[in-house]
Amino acid sequence: MDELINQGLQLMALGMGTVFLFLGLLIFVITLVSRVIQKYELKAEAPASTSTSSHDDLVDVISAAIQQYRSDHPRRK
């Protein structure tokens, strides 16, 4: 019985230790990753403006809409 509780106590030590270690490491890595990303994003801010294919898209959408309309509403006289 005491043996089992002893095991439990050691499991607690090990468990809480690992939880703190793991989440502590996570704090460190998250902070690191955030800094890297923020630095990178700051750099990227100036030459951003990525709207490349906007014209193509518009054409796509409108031509599809027109075709759709025509195919749904054939002219009959």
Partner: protein, 381 residues
Amino acid sequence: MNTLNELLIKLWVTTGIANFEWGQVLMIGIGLLLLYLAIVKKFEPLLLVPMGFGAILSNIPVAEISGPDGILGILYHTGIETGLFPLLIFMGVGALTDFGALIAMPRTLMLGAAAQFGIFVTLIGALALNMVPGFEFSLADAAAIGIIGGADGPTAIFLASRLSPDLLGAIAVAAYSYMALVPIIQPPIMRWLTTEKERKVRMEQMRHVSKAEKIAFPLTVLLLCVIFLPTAAPLIGMLTFGNLLRECGVVDRLSNTAQHELINIVTIFLGLSVGSKLQADHFLNMETLGILLLGMIAFGIGTAAGVLMGKVMYRLSGGKINPLIGAAGVSAVPMAARVVNKVGLEADHHNFLLMHAMGPNVAGVIGSAVAAGILLAVVGG
């Protein structure tokens, strides 16, 4: 051969009246009680309604709905024994959770770590209960009971299905019941351990978290888990997968399905399946009473440990961190964070802690998944 008389007897012997055992009647009563708590008291209704109903269905004599050929038995076998249902729920939770508050204040992970103390104290408590005649919890049983202190339903169900399937019903009932009782259990502990001054601490507005950071977060957590604690990978993996679906911005239709239809379907099935473990002959025993008692302790100690760690951080930060948010470290998302907000408002009517409590709150989810991984590694082997 058959006469009407014989047919009548055949029908009579299949009635409930002719077959009821008192345990079943009692368990149907408990099922009704769970429905009452869910519907009238609004205690975790998403799980307690299916679970309470499942408890009723599984205690109907003759029908064998929880048997190997009954619908609840089949659902349990398909979804709980395999771990599928809790893992899919975890995926949905990931898709529903905004980890922004945690990314903005990674320090609050310490609160989520401290609150796991309840898990291990309860584990020892379960082992100590063995001194009382009638209790014979193995180390695996004790670990499964301890996870109630993680205050996270799917984690508890997943771990119990792995380490101690016989106790699953009682553990799930205890986990969800106490999660529902968070607004009652936590406030007195929080008030007792903090000073008025501490509770009045207003916290700074959090910084903006960019989309890229939110995408990197699930991958970061997963990679750390892969490197250091692979036994937690099923849980952490599905949680971060769901979260990546949410944040990556290119699979919104999958993310929406994971957040709504898929998690709803699995919630219905999970609830019914867990309810199927509330059969009288498995549930009505000393062990269940012990588990319910230990679960209460687990929540209390987890809350206290979180608040105490909050006090440590209050000191270390020069009074910038309100120790109350430590209570949210037990998980029980988002209930615990709301409780923090409420207790904070009691002390100062303009002190909104909700967003700051979300950090430790979701940290608690990760913390208990990590604890589950450790228990699986050491006890489950």
